[in-house]
Symmetry: C2
Subunit: 275 residues, 2 copies
């Protein structure tokens, strides 16, 4: 098949490289940056680079842009899409993309399958991409009432060949869970480093500070979009965490050792079930 990857950043570049390494599909790269396109060709991360008006030959599109850019790309270029083309994305938010593209693509004779690889790192861009980024990662696929099962199966098969474990859910569940497992962690990390005490941390940690703050190295524009597109879920998680922190503070202020040990013990028991 002919597969196009739109946006040759960290994830898009890694998808290209994994497709080239692990499948015999022909890989087409689309990007706005000439240097990156030339490098993608030189490194054989793609077979060809194309402009959007050549999408008519493409069977599957991997949208590897930010959420709003992903939607815009499809709406701007819908006239060029091949009939029965399958479009999948890699955004960290799924209800917004599904609301914008699922029915829209169907009405235009194409298919949408939502995707979100649980892979990333603290550096971005094509030059940090590699095929192994996806190896062993969870890759969430979302289904809706409009999902075409043949289209879903094609994406599912490719994702598995790329070395990922596929998790299937719906877009609402995805956004609710990801607000907790990923988005909240980024907000906590970014908040954690802002204590005035941070200036003295060197030599005073056995690793917990590093773990707690690792994901503060993030792409601020992408994450700002993700938070705003998942407002209700992420604010609920912030409220919940704030409430739990307050319980600790109250027990400490009250000098209530018994209560404090219970709070810690409850946390330990939950963590033991979620290693």
């Amino acid at each position: 098949m002919n597969i196009a990857v739109v946006g040759l950043g960290l994830i898009g570049g890694s998808v290209c490289k994994a497709l080239k390494q692990k499948t015999s599909h022909t890989v087409f790269g689309i990007d706005i940056n000439d240097i990156i396109k030339q490098n993608a060709l030189k490194l054989e991360a793609v077979d060809y680079v194309i402009e959007p008006d050549k999408l008519v030959n493409i069977d599957i599109i991997f949208l590897c842009l930010y959420p709003m850019e992903s939607v815009k790309f499809i709406k701007d270029n819908i006239a060029f899409l091949k009939k029965a083309c399958i479009v999948t994305d890699v955004c960290g938010i799924k209800t917004y993309i599904e609301n914008e593209l699922d029915l829209f693509l169907k009405q235009n004779g194409c298919y949408y399958v939502g995707g979100h690889p649980m892979a990333g790192k603290e550096t971005s861009g094509f030059f940090n991409s590699n095929a192994s980024l996806l190896q062993g990662a969870s890759y969430i696929l979302t289904v809706s009432p409009h999902t075409d099962s043949a289209a879903f199966n094609k994406i599912n098969d490719i994702i598995k060949i790329l070395g990922c474990s596929v998790i299937v859910t719906d877009s609402n569940a995805h956004d609710k869970i990801i607000a907790y497992t990923s988005q909240l962690a980024h907000i906590v990390s970014s908040s954690y480093v802002k204590s005035p005490t941070v200036q003295f941390e060197k030599g005073f940690t056995g690793g917990s500070f590093q773990d707690m703050t690792r994901v503060a190295l993030l792409n601020e524009n992408m994450w700002a979009d993700l938070f705003l597109l998942n407002k209700d879920n992420i604010t609920r998680e912030i409220d919940n965490l704030t409430e739990k922190l307050k319980e600790f503070k109250n027990a400490i202020c009250d000098g209530d050792k018994k209560r404090l040990a219970v709070l810690l013990s409850e946390g330990k028991k939950i963590k033991q079930k979620h290693l």
Copy 2:
């Protein structure tokens, strides 16, 4: 020299094993548990096990008990200590121990040097101890106006031989910084796992959930004591973090992308200075 290690848990056991492996000092173990004492002998983690009334021959004591037990051990057994014995501890709180033992030991012809190895793991007890736990770790030593420089140098030399990097500070600075780099992280981890959404996390994380919650596996009684003995510092850090989380929440509720990107960018810049 004759060195006694009091309390053969994770840290005490590791100190014994590192002393045996890396020095020619004679190592004496003190513990209340017979099985652990017999195993320490069998594994040659110690040369001898003794009761506290045999401390008269000991030049250096490593107190490896919880904070209040550490203080109680010295006060109960002060009569048995050799003149000019150096006592050092490994507690995660330093003002309390210093207030209780520094002058008290000096008035009894002995010396106190505060210590806190930045080493640990999510399992406790002698059977999880090993010499390599301390290798490469920061080891904080605290000094006070009463600190004897010869006593300090002896402890400093031993700690370096055990493979640690020594950081020297005073007890107030230690407690302030450790509230942030370590204690707050444990409270955040323990709070983070308590979201109702935790039941769905499996497959929905690329590692940030794991990093964020690693230290929720803790010894609740030890940490409850540490928090209560550092009340002002830890509650200030909880307040600060809560305030920063609120800034994120407000920007999200307001749909203020620009503000959100600034908040994230500020966090990223701080993290880049504190990798």
